[in-house]
């Protein structure tokens, strides 16, 4: 009974929203556009209102998503002067992504970090970096005392090893449980994503994450038009607003099309192995079945899908 009522209410709200938007749209079309443009940060009043009433990603209809993507594209043109395409590539059936990293091969070059920044349109001056390469003395694994600001003339430093840490895409992610507005969730292909437009920036997820994988975006990313990566995904590397939480999303805009994540493509040592965990012939499955693998903080039971191995 109550469910019925709720549904009815929701319908009412939707109808109300649609009516309002249409009215506003008509108003915007008839009003002198030039004067309005300045008032709404360069967007039309209609766009502004649509942004304001934009629903959660998982609740949007395909029509609404299409409009949202178009708005993101026009906003990128206004803010950065860059022509981007924002996509909404769906997850592939029978695919569950997994990552493995060979710590005997990682030499701490930070090429992965660099590629990640460029691929994911992170501000060049901000501290938001999805990958942290931790330097630790051989034989230890004290993450809290690890060094990630290391900057010697050449790496690897003798007696040290390197452990890159990024989002582990846990199968039972504590960040998702912590989010009070359900702005973050695990997609069917195992990628934990954030709806940046739904995130309220409370940062509960950051405290819940045991891997320091979530980063708060304090500033709007500073990017030049030439630096921006024009191929973007709604849940991935589209230009984000400031004041939201971001994280590694296994380069959703690339991996859902069959490409490697940018960090793996950039790694000169071949330490990174990415693939479909459900495919018994995949490279990642070979690694898991034939190498001595471990996961960070496995005892917490978050079931991360990021393995480390040595050989």
């Amino acid at each position: 009974m109550s469910e019925c009522k709720e549904l009815k209410n929701k319908d009412n709200i939707d109808t109300y929203k649609r009516k309002l938007l249409t009215t506003v749209g008509v108003a915007a079309a008839t009003a002198p556009v030039a004067s309005l443009k300045a008032a709404w940060g360069g967007a039309t009043l209609q766009e502004f209102m649509q942004d304001l009433f934009q629903d959660h990603y998982q609740r949007m209809t395909s029509e609404e998503i299409k409009d949202t993507l178009a708005r993101i594209e026009s906003k990128a043109m206004r803010d950065y002067g860059a022509k981007i395409t924002c996509e909404n590539t769906p997850p592939r059936p029978n695919v569950l992504f997994g990552y493995a990293l060979n710590i005997s091969k990682c030499k701490g070059y930070r090429d992965c970090v660099d590629a990640c920044i460029q691929e994911n349109n992170q501000g060049r001056d901000s501290q938001v970096q999805y990958i942290r390469v931790l330097e630790m003395p051989n034989g230890s694994r004290d993450l809290e005392n690890s060094e990630h600001y290391y900057n010697p003339e050449t790496v690897p430093t003798k007696g040290k090893y390197y452990l890159p840490v990024q989002c582990m895409q846990c199968a039972d992610p504590p960040c998702v449980k912590a989010c009070p507005v359900e702005a973050t969730w695990a997609e069917p292909d195992g990628i934990v994503v954030v709806d940046y437009d739904w995130c309220i920036g409370c940062r509960y997820c950051m405290t819940a994450c045991p891997y320091w994988a979530r980063h708060f975006n304090w500033t709007t990313p500073k990017l030049l038009a030439g630096e921006i990566n024009p191929t973007t995904h709604y849940l991935g590397n589209r230009p984000r607003p400031s004041g939201v939480v971001e994280k590694c999303h296994f380069c959703i805009q690339r991996t859902r099309k069959g490409l490697q994540p940018a960090c793996m493509e950039a790694c000169p040592t071949g330490a990174r192995v990415f693939g479909n965990l459900l495919d018994p012939k995949s490279e990642i499955r070979y690694v898991l079945e034939n190498k001595t693998v471990f996961r960070l903080k496995e005892e917490l039971g978050t079931d991360p899908k990021f393995w480390y191995f040595t050989d």
């Binding site: 060979n102 701490g108 942290r132 809290e144 069959g258 490279e283």
Partner: protein
């Protein structure tokens, strides 16, 4: 394998004996000797792949060596305009282990097969079979561009200098910036020793 085959033969022989009550001569199995020695041609279980093109240009070795006499004595090549001695193998191997004696534009495996420069994995695998197996299955080396679809694997010599295979240290990319307004943490702060009677050691928990 051979033992189990013989055992199977023996059991068959015994059962026939038991059934008929008289001995029957067991036919000798004649194993045909293959005329061509069996050589390595990849792992049947490994997903199919192609080898990426070489990332450096190799000068034709035969251009000079065609007119030179082949001297197979192991020696330092002091006057040669190429590598005279190498760190690879710590002096245990020399040129003609991997380079073909007759055709200088080809490599050779330990079994004596000719192999092109691009298929160096067949040569390297003669001595490093475990690495080679990992390479075939994707646990060693690099795959280009995609995780799904055509597999293009980067060959051994694209990353390793075959004469000095250990990869030399190089400069890292820039460290992460510290958030605006915050000073970089020093050694003392990172150690977080707020209780003077508790000393934390580097080795231990995560």
């Amino acid at each position: 394998m051979r033992f189990s085959f013989m055992l199977a033969l023996a059991i068959t022989g015994w059962t026939t004996f038991a059934a008929n009550g008289e001995t029957q001569p067991v036919e000798e199995s004649i194993e045909e000797e293959p005329t061509v020695p069996l050589t390595f041609s990849g792992y049947p279980d490994a997903p199919s792949f192609t080898v990426a093109p070489l990332n450096k240009k190799i000068k034709s070795c035969a251009r000079c060596h065609a007119t030179m006499e082949t001297d197979t004595t192991i020696r330092l090549l002091e006057d040669a305009p190429h590598v005279d001695a190498m760190t690879h193998g710590n002096g245990r191997i020399w040129c003609l282990i991997c380079h073909d004696e007759q055709d200088r534009d080809q490599l050779r495996t330990f079994a004596g097969e000719k192999v092109s420069f691009q298929n160096s994995h067949l040569v390297c695998g003669s001595c490093h079979p475990q690495r080679q197996k990992d390479w075939y299955f994707g646990a060693h080396g690099k795959r280009e561009a995609n995780w799904d679809g055509d597999r293009v694997l980067v060959g051994c010599t694209n990353c390793h200098d075959p004469h000095e295979p250990i990869i030399q240290p190089r400069e890292p990319k820039a460290p992460p910036p510290v958030r605006a307004g915050l000073p970089k943490m020093n050694e003392h702060e990172r150690a977080f020793n707020i209780w003077p009677w508790i000393t934390r050691t580097e080795v231990g928990h995560e």
